[in-house]
Amino acid sequence: MNLESLLALVVSSTLVYSAPLILAALGGVYSENSGIVNIGLEGIMTVGAFTSIIFNLTFASSLGIWTPWLGALVGAIFGLVFSLLHAFATINLHADHIISGTVLNLLAPPLGVFLIKAIYEKGQTANITANFGYANIPGLADIPVLGKIFFANTSAPAWLAIILTIAMWFILYKTRLGLRLRSAGENPQAADTLGVNVYKMRYLGVLTSGFMAGLGGAVFAQSISGNFSISTIVGQGFMALAAVIFGKWNPIGAMLSSLFFGFAQSLSIIGAQLPGLSKIPTVYMQIAPYVITIIVLVLFLGKSVAPAADGVNYIKAK
């Protein structure tokens, strides 16, 4: 295997595994910046995964190559609906963010499997035929060397996720809306005094996280697992949460850490094909994202980086 095709293999598999993480982590960034901790990303991804698979199986014959993209949209919408539960519980009913998020994680897998059993009368779905597969980015794929490594035979959802990252970074840091969203997470009392509708901003944050995590779950299901079962989403949501923290609650940072985690994940899978790496036990690659997250938290003292009012309920005085 020459260097060029070796790099192409590493880059494309990194992108495939990163795409769901980037999308879910972006959602997490918005939710946490608005002041709502969302450890329910895992559950929302599960909802996105199983709704997109059901959509894909049902409409693949009539929609053709657009099926996975529409499936991703469906997954995202259902993720948004599911996250309403978390938003309502934490924002209006003053629930503990961690408990409410845990409920999403407890609820989504059995709900998915229950519906799969009720619809298909078996515990896991059939494999989908219309998945994302590998795509060439038109124009860019023709660039010599770089084009082959980065843009040929690559993951289209990953490039979408990278473009979304830049857009969401811009919204969060360069627009009035983003400033208001962050103010709801930094100091809701002050924001409220200045006329920012804290509840609205927090709903926006949580629902964005629902949409994005649903999208991430749908991308994972339609590009990596190919079906839905109880073990489709195991840990991706928590890894996205880790990426939020490793990326210091910033969209760009979350994307870069997702790429790194995706790289570590893909190494534990394609490592056997790479010279020199096949000797290293895969366990190091598997635990790397989690160990690194803890180290990052310890180094930053776990305090100064998170939005100041992240996880704190804001109860508006009557």
Binding site: V37, I39, L85, A89, L93, H94, A95, D96, I98, I99, S100, T102, V103, N105, L106, L107, P109, P110, L111, V113, F114, K117, A118, S231, V234, G235, F238, M239, L241, A242, I245, P281, V283, Q286, I287, Y290, V291, T293, I294, L297, V298, L301, G302, K303, A306
Partner: protein
């Protein structure tokens, strides 16, 4: 608005949550045209109708008691130990390994040794999170989640690469443990229709008593609660916040670890590779939340969830309803517990007639040291 006493409210909140959870399950069943009445009837019949069903229900409750105590101790100290699955898994693998590695030790040495080793393993995993919290201020929710996955993959690695192949049947399953390290009791199992009920339940009841005693009657428990209620005040009173954080996490992890031990030495008699977080961890968390972290509450909640989980199997075969409805009901119950603010709106706590303000009637209380707004005055009685 309904007026109740504080004690009544403590009972009403979990009770209404449970009923509401069952209702959610019933509604979902109705939507998909299953009959909820026959389903719930089959559930209770399956869990309580036969001696073997009853035995399995008690067996299922045993590890949940331990993991729930683990969660409760940490939460009394103000921590959300979400790492119960990892701690239980560490305890499970360790205890089975200790027993398998010492086939010739007598039971009265080996069994306590294995249990202590399992508790130790769980305590170490939780202790890492406690230490980082105490000395670096690292959020324990994140560290324990991350530790769950670190333990999950480490156990896979230890099992497949490090454990001597003489102790395994294949790379994913260990050999069954010998009787010198087992919690299995012949007469107990026969009494309950040859179910997998084991000595773990006696340990569980002892653990509940220890938990109650620890929290109500000892200095350790008092300090843990004090730190949980107000870390600044307890520091002012001379308690070491750091020490108490670590102690509470060590105790929490030890109990969760024994939960895993009971699974290994009692229920399964071996260890097999786990592909996702161990379920007794998440269920233990739910049990503690429903049981409001009290000893008696944990016992009742553990039994309820075990009825659901064991009865769910009977429901699937007898009424044809997918087993997953059980997990949906449990999640719904915890959701209602989480939104207990609704209950605050619904129920108003009655002031008891004998209640008097500690200060003399009519005495105004001065500025509140800036804790609240400076002109804050406590309302006068009557």
């Amino acid at each position: 608005m309904i007026k109740v006493t504080a004690k009544q409210k403590r009972l009403l909140v979990p009770l209404i949550s449970v009923i509401a959870g069952f209702l959610v399950g019933a509604i979902i069943m109705l939507i998909w045209s299953y009959n909820p009445f026959s389903a719930y009837a089959a559930m209770f019949n399956g869990a309580l109708g036969t001696m073997s069903g009853l035995g399995e229900t008690i067996r299922e409750a045993t590890p949940l008691i331990f993991t729930a105590i683990g969660f409760a101790i940490a939460s009394k100290a103000g921590f959300f130990n979400i790492g119960l699955p990892g701690q239980a898994q560490a305890g499970w693998l360790t205890s089975v390994w200790v027993v398998l590695a010492n086939p010739n030790l007598p039971k009265y040495i080996l069994l306590p040794l294995a249990i202590i080793a399992g508790a130790f393993a769980g305590a170490i995993v939780a202790g890492i999170a406690g230490y980082l919290r105490a000395y670096f201020g690292t959020n324990e929710v994140i560290t324990t989640i991350m530790l769950n996955y670190i333990v999950l993959y480490l156990c896979q690695y230890l099992m497949q690469q490090i454990m001597p192949s003489s102790l395994r049947t294949d790379t994913d399953t260990t050999k069954d443990i010998g009787s010198n390290g087992s919690l299995h009791i012949d007469w107990l199992s026969h009494l309950f229709g040859d179910s997998r009920i084991n000595a773990g339940i006696f340990l569980g009841i002892i653990a509940l008593v220890i938990f109650w005693f620890l929290m109500k009657k000892t200095t350790v428990g008092f300090e843990i609660k004090a730190v949980g209620l107000n870390p600044f005040a307890s520091r002012y009173a001379g308690m070491s916040t750091k020490k108490n954080i670590i102690v509470s996490m060590l105790l929490s992890g030890a109990f969760a670890g024994i939960g895993g031990v009971v699974q290994g030495l009692g229920t399964y008699q071996n260890y097999f590779t786990q592909t996702s977080s161990v379920d007794i961890g998440w269920d233990g968390l739910s049990v503690a939340l429903l049981g409001n972290s009290t000893a008696i509450g944990i016992l009742l909640a553990a039994l309820l969830f075990s009825i659901l989980k064991i009865g769910g199997l009977g429901m699937q075969t007898a009424a044809g309803v997918p087993y997953e409805i059980v997990s949906i009901v449990i999640a719904a119950i915890i959701f209602f517990i989480a939104i207990s603010y609704v209950f605050d709106l619904l129920f108003k706590i009655k002031k008891s007639k004998t209640y008097r303000h500690p200060l003399k009637k009519g005495v105004e209380i001065g500025p509140n040291n800036g804790v609240d707004s400076p002109d804050f005055k406590l309302q006068k009685e009557g």
